[in-house]
Symmetry: C2
Subunit: 396 residues, 2 copies
C-alpha cells in the first residue's frame, strides 16, 4: 500500500477521469454520456492507443459496476406501480420484444451465422433503454402526455422481459447446442424469480422493516439492501442466470421503500463511482480490427432493423390511438442501452459471438441512441395545443 | 459473467454479510462495530477456520475501502473550523502525539527490537479515533461542554498530525536504514501537502464551483470529488506517502462544500459498502500462531502505555482547567482506530513489523477502544450541574 506506486489505483484514476471527460464532451453535444464512456475505453484500450490494459482487479470492479447499474435501475421500478399500470403498456412491451428479436434472429440466420450467435445478437436488440427518451421528454415538458406515460410504463415491463430473456440466453451460453429441457427450466426459473420478486419479496422486506428498529447498526436499511443485492446476484449465478438479473430484481424488491430509506441517492453514488469502469472496459474490449466492410454493412442493416422493429412492434398496439401517438411510442422505445451491452459482453466472454458481432451490437446501440432524440423532438412539437409553459414534474 | 459461479461475487457476499453480522452483535453489546468486523476476518480467515481466503480482487476492494474510509474522515474536517479553533486543542493534540510515540518507541527498543519495528508500533499508538468518544458523549448529551469541544477539535488536529507521521513512516518502509535526508524531505512533503490542502485547495475548489454550472453532467460535484480523491491518492503514492494520506486531504479540501453538495451521505454510502472488506481483510491477516505468552505480555504492556500516554499527554496541557476536565480530555482521546490499524497493516505488508507486533497493535487498539466508553460515562456524570434534559445537537 505505501511507497510503491500501485497500478490498480493509477488505472482507476485514469479510467475514471477519461471516462468522465468523454462523457461530459458527449453531453455537451447532446449525446448520451454512456457512449462517451464507452468511446474512452475504445480509444485508450488495448486495441487502439493501448494506453490502458485493464487489470483483473479493474475487471472485477467493472463487474461490480454492472451489478450496481442494474440494482439502481431496479430501484426505480416499484412493483405495485407495475401491477396497477394498464394492459396497453404490457402489450407495447411484449410486441416490442417479439418483433426485434424475430427480425434480428431471422437476419443473422439468413446471413449464415449459427443459431447461438443469432440468439445473442437478437437478444441485444430487445431491451429498450428509456433513460434518454425520458430525459428528452422531460426537456420538452411533455412527461404528462399519454404517449410519455405509456412509454415509461412499457419500458419498465420491457426491462423485466429483457431480464427474463437474458436469464435464458445466459443459460444457453453454458450449454453446447440448444437443449430444450434446460431452456424450459431456465425460463421457468427466470419467470418464477421475477414473479417472486414482484409479488412476494416486498412483503418480506416489509416484515424486516418492522424489526429493523431493534438493530443498533447505523444505516441498517442500506446495509440490508446491499447484502440482498449481492446475495441475489450470487443466487442468480447459482441457478444459471446472469448475476445482474439478481441485482435487478433485488432493486425491484426495495423500490417501494427506496424513498423512505433514501436508497436511491446513496446506491446511486456507488453506481456513479463503479459504472464508468464497466462502460470503459466494455469499450476496451472492442477489437477495431473487427471493423471490416462486411461488419459495417451488417451493423448498418442491424441498426435499421433495430429501429424499424421497435417503431413497428411498439407502434402497432397503439395505432388505434392515432398514428402520431403510435409513432411517438415507437420512436421513444427505440434506444437500446445497458442491457443490450451486457448481453453482448456475456456473449463475447463466453465466446458465443464473434468480435465482429460484438462490434455490430455496439454500433447498433450507438445508432439507436443517437437516432431517437431528434426525431422525438420533432414528433412531440407536432402535438396540437402543446403548452410549452406548462410545468411538469419529471417522472424519473 | 454468466452461468459459472464467480468466486469474486461469492466472497464479497460472504465477507460483507459476516462482517455486518459480527458488527451488529458487537454494537448490541455496546462495543464498536469495527472490532466485530475485524473479528469476523480473524475467525473466518485463513489462520483460523480458513473459511475465506481473500482473493487479490478482494484485496483491491479492501484497499479502496481504506481510501474511502479516510476520504470520509477528511470530509468531516472543514479547514476553516480548524484555523479558528483555539491553541488549546493544538497543544492537546501535539502532546498527545509526542508522549505515546516516545513511550511506545522507548519500550519496544528496550525490549530489544529494531528501530524500524519500534517506529511502526509507536506510530500506531499515536492517532486517536474519536468516533467512539463522540458517540458516548452524544449519548450522554454532553457535547456542549468545554471538555467535549476540546476533544473533538484536538482529534481533528490529531488526525492531521497522524497523517503527517504516517507519511513519514510509510516513506521509512521504503528505505533500508534510517536515511535522515530522505526523512526530512518526506516530512517537508507531508507538511507541505497538509498546509496546501488546508489553506489553498478550498480556494481552487471554490473557483471550480463557479464553473460547474456550465457542465452538462449530472452530479458533477460528486464526480469531481471522487476524481480528486483518486487523484490525490495516486499523487501521495507517487511522492512516497501512503495513498490514504492523499484521500484524507482530498476529503479536507471538499469538507467545506460537503453540505451544499450532499457529499457526506453519498460518499458515506460508498464507504459503507467498501470498508467492511478492509476491516475483514485486516482481521484475516492476523496470524493466531503469533499469540505466544510473550506476545500477550507485550500487548498488555503496550495497551497500558497507550492508555497512560494519552491520559498524561492530553491531560497535562489541560491541568490548569482542573483535574476533572484534564481527565475527561485524556480519557476521551484514548481510543485508537483506523489510522493505527492502517499503520500496522502497512508495516506488516512491507515486512517492517513481525506478525506478533501486528497482533500487539490489534490488541492495543481493541483494549483502548473498549476501555474508554465506561470510564467516560463515569467521568461525565460527575459534572456538577449536568442537566440530562438539555437537548444538544450532535456535533458529528
Amino acid at each position: 500500500m505505501p511507497h510503491t506506486s500501485d497500478p490498480f489505483l493509477l488505472q482507476l484514476l485514469v479510467i475514471f477521469v477519461w471516462a468522465k471527460i468523454f462523457g461530459e464532451v458527449f453531453e455537451q453535444m447532446s449525446l448520451p454520456a454512456v457512449l462517451g464512456e464507452i468511446l474512452a475505453g475504445v480509444i485508450l484500450g488495448p486495441y487502439a492507443t493501448a494506453f490502458v490494459f485493464p487489470t483483473p482487479a479493474v475487471h472485477s470492479i467493472s463487474e461490480l459496476g454492472a451489478i450496481f447499474l442494474l440494482f439502481s435501475v431496479g430501484l426505480e421500478t416499484p412493483p405495485d406501480e407495475l401491477i396497477k399500470v394498464g394492459r396497453t403498456s404490457l402489450g407495447v412491451a411484449l410486441a416490442g420484444m417479439v418483433v426485434p428479436f424475430a427480425l434480428g434472429f431471422g437476419f443473422i440466420i439468413l446471413h449464415g451465422s449459427p443459431a447461438k450467435e443469432a440468439t445473442f445478437v437478437a437478444t441485444a436488440m430487445v431491451a429498450t433503454s428509456v433513460g434518454i427518451t425520458a430525459r428528452v421528454m422531460g426537456d420538452l415538458q411533455v412527461l404528462h402526455t399519454r404517449a410519455a406515460k405509456i412509454i415509461l410504463a412499457a419500458a419498465v415491463f420491457d426491462d423485466i422481459l429483457g431480464m427474463v430473456l437474458l436469464a435464458v440466453v445466459a443459460g444457453l451460453a453454458a450449454t453446447s447446442g440448444v437443449q430444450w429441457v434446460q431452456l424450459g427450466v431456465l425460463s421457468a426459473e427466470a419467470i418464477g424469480f421475477a414473479l417472486f420478486m414482484i409479488f412476494f419479496a416486498p412483503r418480506v422486506i416489509h416484515r424486516m422493516r418492522g424489526r429493523m428498529q431493534y438493530m443498533s447498526m447505523r444505516d441498517a436499511p442500506l446495509i440490508l439492501a446491499l447484502a440482498i443485492c449481492l446475495g441475489l446476484s450470487v443466487a442468480a449465478q447459482k441457478i444459471g442466470m446472469a448475476a445482474i438479473v439478481g441485482a435487478f430484481f433485488a432493486g425491484i424488491a426495495f423500490a417501494e421503500y427506496a424513498p423512505e430509506w433514501e436508497l436511491r441517492p446513496r446506491v446511486g453514488a456507488i453506481t456513479e463511482f463503479l459504472t464508468p469502469f464497466f462502460f470503459f472496459v466494455m469499450g476496451a474490449q472492442l477489437n477495431l480490427a473487427a471493423f471490416s466492410r462486411e461488419t459495417m454493412r451488417t451493423a448498418a442493416i442491424i441498426s435499421v432493423l433495430a429501429i424499424l422493429s421497435k417503431v413497428i412492434g411498439c407502434g402497432l398496439p397503439m395505432l388505434r390511438e392515432g398514428w402520431l401517438t403510435a409513432l411517438k411510442v415507437g420512436v421513444g422505445m427505440t434506444p437500446r442501452g445497458e442491457v443490450g451491452l451486457i448481453v453482448a459482453l456475456i456473449g463475447l466472454n463466453a465466446k458465443m459471438i464473434s468480435e465482429s458481432s460484438y462490434a455490430v451490437v455496439l454500433i447498433m446501440i450507438a445508432v439507436t441512441t443517437v437516432f431517437a432524440p431528434p426525431i422525438l423532438r420533432i414528433l412531440f412539437h407536432k402535438v396540437p395545443g402543446f403548452a410549452a409553459s406548462e410545468t411538469v414534474v419529471a417522472a424519473e
